[in-house]
């Protein structure tokens, strides 16, 4: 057939529309600017902004798995917080074992200890994710109500098991020597660990984007989010793909747990459940199932929390709810609504 019949049909959205399409990306710098105006002092602002980015990226790490899992199989895991807590406890246990490495002045040993803690925590939470998917989630596919209830039950049991294994008290571990203290940039003090957190977060985001955009698995995940049936009809087992994504998401939650734990230096069995509030807000803001949306939502929530924590500490959490409300009024499905072919 002739090309002429085809050409005219390619539609380029008008410039204005494409701008609006990209608008969510602009929100992050816009919020940072607003923060600068509200905070006033640039040095304080820089400290807060780095803290906000670090917090946002950690939330992103924990939330990304949840959102992809939802996109792929329409499963919302209210027990996701359990992986965060377990990851933190496993990671801290490893750090305690490696006490010699963490207290040594050698940066290399310090980082190795953190790396080991992260690795073991991710392994443990990935395995836990496997068990969770098989035992808790699989029997209730397609039934949202039961899913919410059962995964909530899973969360309770997991939290209680943390008490059984690690005792009822909170756990305290100091950050390794070289991750303590701050850099001083002009008048601003920026905690070293926050920079490390930002670094890990950015690297992970880039890696995740690469996997999703350029590997076959990533393509399958994106295709599956849009139309799982068609992926099956092409011959791929979406269930198995889902299990892999679920485990990866659990491992990321575990990683987030270790990072968050090191950030606070104190962890409790409930920490996951508490962070889940922010995770849910982020996932809703971003649009259920969207990784990009989740990323932007996480940065927004991280920045806003830190600015308000400085300006009006009592309303920090409420302000993120306010942000969610505003964004949902603008886009009822979140920043990047996921197209579902159904």
């Amino acid at each position: 057939m002739s090309e002429a019949t085809i050409k005219p049909r390619i539609e380029k959205a008008p410039l204005g529309e494409r701008m609006i399409e990209k608008l969510p990306v602009v929100l992050v710098p816009a919020l940072a600017m607003l923060g600068l105006i509200a905070v006033g002092n640039p040095a304080t602002w820089l400290t807060l902004t780095v803290a906000g980015l670090a917090m946002g990226l950690m939330i992103f790490i924990m939330a990304s798995g949840l959102t992809v899992v939802f996109g792929l199989m329409d499963v919302i895991n209210f027990g996701h917080g359990a992986f965060i807590s377990v990851g933190a406890f496993v990671g801290f246990t490893v750090l305690i074992w490696l006490g010699g490495w963490t207290s040594s002045p050698s940066v290399f040993l310090n980082l190795s200890a953190v790396f080991m803690a992260i690795l073991v925590a991710m392994l443990a939470t990935a395995l836990m994710g496997y068990a969770f998917e098989r035992v808790i989630v699989m029997p209730v596919y397609g039934e949202h109500l039961k899913q919410i209830l059962v995964t909530m039950g899973g969360l309770i049991v997991a939290q209680q098991l943390i008490y059984v294994f690690w005792g009822p008290d909170e756990m305290h571990v100091a950050r390794p020597e070289s991750l303590q203290g701050s850099f001083v940039l002009g008048e601003a003090a920026v905690e070293k660990y926050r920079l490390v957190a930002v670094g890990i977060g950015v690297v992970l985001f880039v890696a995740m984007r690469y996997v999703l955009k350029s590997t076959r698995i990533g393509l399958l995940v994106r295709a599956g989010v849009e139309n799982g049936e068609m992926v099956e009809a092409l011959g791929y087992r979406v269930r198995r793909l889902f299990l892999m994504v679920f485990m990866a998401g659990s491992a990321l939650a575990g990683l987030g747990g270790v990072m968050w734990g090191l950030y606070q230096e104190t962890i409790t069995a409930h920490m996951g459940q508490e962070i889940m509030v922010l995770v849910f807000i982020v996932v809703i803001i971003g649009g259920l199932g969207s990784v990009e949306g989740c990323f932007i939502g996480a940065l927004l929530v991280g920045l806003l929390s830190n600015y308000t924590a400085f300006l009006a500490p009592k309303v920090a959490l409420v302000s993120t709810i306010g942000l969610m409300v505003i964004i949902l009024m603008w886009r009822p499905q979140g920043l990047y609504p996921v197209v579902k072919a159904k």
Binding site: I6, E226, M230, A233, L234, A341
Partner: protein, 241 residues
């Protein structure tokens, strides 16, 4: 007529509380094009989806190449050599045309010769190779959907209304492409409402109504028998006019 490639006997399908297929008996012979006609809501798409395992038959049996596939899962059915072009085309709009094609090639990288042939059949697949599939027009999406189904050689292709909502010129192009595909030893089960198109390409024909097959036979016979057409037309084809 050659041996049956695909055979449905007494297939019933329930969707939730609704009893949609009520004992479908359908035989698709090896080679050539079998056409499935029927008015809107007759159950044609449900039949194809049941063959693919996207709905599970509640009773009856489906055999493909002598193997019972009634209870098999969709991916296994697909890998046994059946490709599917669903009614909504199932394009991954978030992916590029190239990525859509790559995913359809499950046995390894796409064979360049075959790709060239496909792009010959459907030029937009070449023109928009690196574009996002979401930006394609309806007709181009349909071409991509068929291309995806034939990116590797398949035994049987199920195509659900490939001419739905297309301009006449594109319908002709699609018909030509399917005719060429027919020459390649691939069997096609085609759901169609456009009788002109269906009769120009079909070898056998079955007509559905209310979840059952109410007629089946050779297409030539049906084309010749105006009275039969009239009778079935009233049931199945008027909806399209």
């Amino acid at each position: 007529m050659s041996e049956p490639l695909l055979q449905l006997s007494g297939v019933h399908t329930h969707i939730g509380p609704y009893h949609i297929l009520q004992g479908v008996d359908l035989t698709v012979p090896k080679g050539g094009v079998s056409v499935l006609l029927g008015r809107n809501g007759a159950g044609k798409s449900t039949t194809l989806r049941t063959i693919m395992g996207l709905w599970t038959a509640s009773s009856g049996s489906i055999t493909f190449q002598g193997r019972d596939i009634t209870r098999m899962e969709t991916p296994a059915i697909s890998r046994s050599g059946i490709a599917f072009v669903p009614e909504n085309m199932g394009i991954f709009t978030d992916l590029t045309v190239a990525e859509n094609m790559t995913l359809a090639a499950t046995k390894g990288p796409i064979d360049p010769k075959r790709l060239a042939w496909i792009q010959e059949l459907f030029p937009p697949v070449r023109t928009f190779w690196n574009s996002s599939a979401g930006t394609l027009s309806g007709g181009q999406k349909q071409m991509l959907a068929v291309s995806r189904a034939i990116v590797e050689s398949r035994v049987l292709i199920l195509i659900d209304e490939p001419t739905k909502g297309l301009a006449p010129a594109i319908i002709n192009a699609m018909t030509d492409a399917l005719k060429e595909l027919k020459e390649t030893d691939t069997t096609i089960l085609l759901v169609e409402q456009n009788f002109a198109m269906a009769s120009s390409i079909g070898d056998t024909v079955a007509v559905m109504d209310d979840g059952r097959i109410i007629h089946d036979g050779d297409m030539a016979e049906m084309v010749a028998d105006k009275e039969l057409q009239e009778r079935l037309m009233g049931l199945s084809l008027e909806a399209h006019q």
